[in-house]
Symmetry: C2
Subunit: 422 residues, 2 copies
């Protein structure tokens, strides 16, 4: 127990775990033995009840109910039903959220719809630090929504230009990620939304790294549209469906850009012309992938028991502890720099470190049972998911990282780059 920060050792961490009001949730997940999993910000862990729930959907709803389950098992309404289950986690009213296809497709659907709310304006503002697919899908929005002339893109960044630098009367839509996927930096949603509205534009929030990680209140912030994914902190399963949120006041004003039959007013009249359904339903496109939706439903049933204020309190305690331990044990000796904001109100539920040799260091760490990830060019990333991450996990992760840096084992050739994934 060398280099322990003042007052903290593994025993103290165990005491924090013993006093944790969320501790019982850890047993609701099937985590592999001996693994410290700090990558729930990329793919959440498997909830214990999920396999049986998905089995039920397969054997009973599909196998026995067959086509009848579209009515009898509520399949057709599943995207809006699950949207309403998700609503409390993001501060949405009932009827504002719908489970959709991939986050990328939803980003297009939402941002292109937003552009239609400001048809005379020609600029889309986004962040250089948006997850790249947001920027890529915005290229589609720029090309397809400009009426023959591509919309202009203006990129902002945490080191400038700022939002204030680029906002003017030409800006139609601002697409921002609430919590930055690399640094964990969190925007002040209410303040930024106010700023965007003041310029007459609408804001689309990407909640991928905040839903289930930090309290989100879209309606309190006066937000316009939002999208997010459910396979990170919500633990919906690999590639589980994304969601689209549209403030009730905007829903009737927008014809969605992608007009599929599940968003039709009367899908079973089989008419040849599209007519949008009332409400959030119009943002649906095609048939939902129902086994993946079942994985999400199993998890959302558990989330109904979760208090987001407790999630936030524990998240900050976990990330504070991690930052303290890195500062004390790794900063001076190994040059590990915490790039995540230290101010609570600017921090999501992850901590990222800038360190030379990030990729092989993370590979060595994974081999020793601590799973985080690497984000090019030089960040190693640790996600803290209060439902199943413990304070002793934090301790063990830092101690093992310290060991790898001390021994230099990460310099061995087999930890070199081979290709990595989200």
């Amino acid at each position: 127990m060398t280099h322990a920060p003042a007052g903290i050792d593994r025993r103290a961490c165990a005491a924090l775990d013993a006093a944790d009001p969320l501790a019982s949730f850890r047993s609701r997940f099937d985590l592999p033995e001996g693994v410290v999993y700090l990558d729930g910000n990329s793919l959440g862990a498997l909830p214990r009840d999920t396999p049986a729930f998905v089995q039920h959907v397969m054997r009973e709803e599909w196998g026995v109910g067959l086509i009848r389950s579209w009515n009898d098992a509520g399949w057709f309404a599943k995207p809006t039903d699950l949207g309403d289950r998700l609503a409390p986690i993001i501060g949405a009213a009932p009827g504002e959220t719908v489970i959709a296809e991939s986050t990328s497709t939803s980003l297009f659907q939402a941002a292109a719809a937003a552009a239609r709310l400001r048809p005379k304006r020609r600029v889309i503002v986004a962040e250089r630090g948006n997850f790249p697919t947001d920027l890529y899908m915005l290229e589609s929005v720029q090309e397809l929504m400009g009426g023959g002339t591509a919309l202009e893109r203006r990129l902002i960044a945490d080191d400038g230009p700022t939002l204030a630098d680029v906002l003017d009367e030409d800006v139609a839509v601002v697409v921002l990620t609430h919590v930055d996927y690399r640094t964990g930096r969190m925007h002040d949603m209410a303040e930024v939304t106010r700023q965007v509205h003041e310029a007459g534009a609408v804001v689309v929030w990407d909640l991928c790294h905040s839903v289930g990680a930090v309290p989100v209140d879209l309606n309190a912030a006066g937000a316009d549209l939002a999208v997010g994914c459910t396979y990170k902190y919500l633990n919906g399963g690999p590639g589980s469906p994304s969601f689209i949120w549209v403030a009730e006041r905007h829903q009737a004003a927008v014809r969605p850009p992608l007009t599929g039959w599940h968003g039709h007013a009367k899908p079973f009249d089989f008419t040849v012309d599209y007519a949008p359904a009332p409400g959030i339903t119009r943002f649906r496109i095609g048939t939902p992938q129902l086994l993946s939706a079942a994985g999400l439903e199993a998890s959302l049933r558990m989330w109904a028991e979760v208090d987001m204020a407790r999630i936030r309190k524990k998240s900050l305690a976990l990330t504070d502890l991690f930052i303290d331990l890195v500062d004390t044990r790794l900063a001076d000796r190994f040059g590990a720099e915490v790039v995540t904001p230290r101010e609570h109100h600017r921090r999501g539920s992850q901590v990222s470190l800038r360190v030379d040799g990030g990729y092989p260091i993370m590979q060595a760490l994974i081999e020793r049972g601590v799973i985080g990830d690497f984000r090019a060019p030089d960040l190693i990333r640790f996600g803290f998911t209060p439902l199943y991450t413990s304070f002793t996990d934090v301790w063990d992760a830092v101690v093992r990282l310290e060991d790898i840096l001390t021994t230099g084992v990460w310099r061995e050739a087999h930890f070199e780059r081979r290709g990595e994934v989200t």
Copy 2:
């Protein structure tokens, strides 16, 4: 056994089953006891091996492998790997097919890409009889791909106008459904493709009701692009992912309209600008829904054992038998009219009947364990899936239908319309 057509009774059907080289596949499905399932053209039945396969993906790949499974379990390559598994069923070469999001979204991605192959032409031709979501998504293509002025739509139909009537030098794209979802009428893919090409246009084939139902050879037909769904005759599970096929000769020429990170040349470089991946991969959009993809994978593993020539032979025998029995027992007495073409080369793997009281008749039939479906305004539809439909199923379905029509039980009030799905 009144009204039996010449030489056919239930015993003769049982003899046909005993001689059926595909009979053993029926035991590879978990069909509920006492049900004659003739709606596999809407939602295929549950393959016996699927639940265990999906469990494996949940417990081992997700639960234990966690984020590592993106590499170790081949998750990232899954859409193209499954596309290549599907390829032989549609006459595709390796590297031409990718598993995607909903069929609606794929129809947009394919048809909008096709429009980019003929940027100076202003017309999209479709069929009134396309499944409606195709027409709805084509409205999005018309609006978004016309460079500020909506593309013109021309609709053809089996009762005119014909394709020849509308094809001219203004036509960019023709979107046709290979097998009509209501009538089961099949196009001559090679001949129609030739006709479209002669006019200088490109064709997008919707294979939803033909993939796994009839032999399809896209490359032999010289087709351009195609989409299809996998939850009907392929038995991938409710809402299982659609596919996109793009002839190799077109792949490099098109920037996809929806530019997501899974279609990026270097997704893990996290650059701010989109650059399309080589080959079919560029048609990917976002993160695949992997539990639903697992359902499809389980089914495609079984399909590797299937001989499409046998499927076709049995499909025609089943539909011939059904048509014969309807003609003999139901046509004169009850006015039931077979609307599906009687010529083999124009018939898919379903038979539709026009009959007064279609909706309540089908509801009464479902209550008696024969599951088909109803398509507005007046068709009852029966899908024959050679992997699990038997000749005695056909016999039993017609006999029960005859009984319902004879007794008039379908006129009871509780069989009236309540809302039906897909």
